[in-house]
Symmetry: C2
Subunit: 119 residues, 2 copies
Amino acid sequence: MEKNVRISYLFDFYGDILSEKQSRAVELYYNDDLSLGEIAEQFGISRQGVRDLLKRSETLLVEMEEKLRLAEKFECMLEDVEKIIVQALKIRNTDDKEAAECAQMIIDTAEKLKIRIVE
Amino acid sequence: MEKNVRISYLFDFYGDILSEKQSRAVELYYNDDLSLGEIAEQFGISRQGVRDLLKRSETLLVEMEEKLRLAEKFECMLEDVEKIIVQALKIRNTDDKEAAECAQMIIDTAEKLKIRIVE
């Protein structure tokens, strides 16, 4: 079973739709890097049981992305915000003090927006 | 049964998680403003059947928002983007031509970003 980095990413978006047990399994396997055997021991179930639990969780996460396309959308948004920051940084060097202040406000807001997107 | 404008809004975000029939019912009732009776006739089911279908769909949409909080998140994002546009519009009036051009690029990107958020 290959670890799919995409799953960890989708888990950030859609983790809340999983059951507590599914969510815990994904966290232990993908974020804490535990083995199937270690998770099996913690859960008191078989390795195959953990494998099934993870498979089901992964399917749910991938299906959510196929339906809602949030991860894709948020990646594009982040690119847009980065572009805005690049332009605002250029403006900040202008001799026009007022414009430079506005540019700083744009940068501050854009940084806040970035956090909103990735959180 | 009171029409909840929030549902129509949440439907834009999470409509794709509904079944085809649920989705169709929500569209007819909330977007096309058909009555329960008219939808019942179209679907060949009772008014109570339509009511149940809508209730179930509404619950699913509200639950999704409780879990993912996307509608709330996107509203905040839109506010941030509007703030960025307001500042960029101020900069566009500067005598510094280069800064004005950067401001225009910020506005263009922010407008694209707005569309991404509401789409």
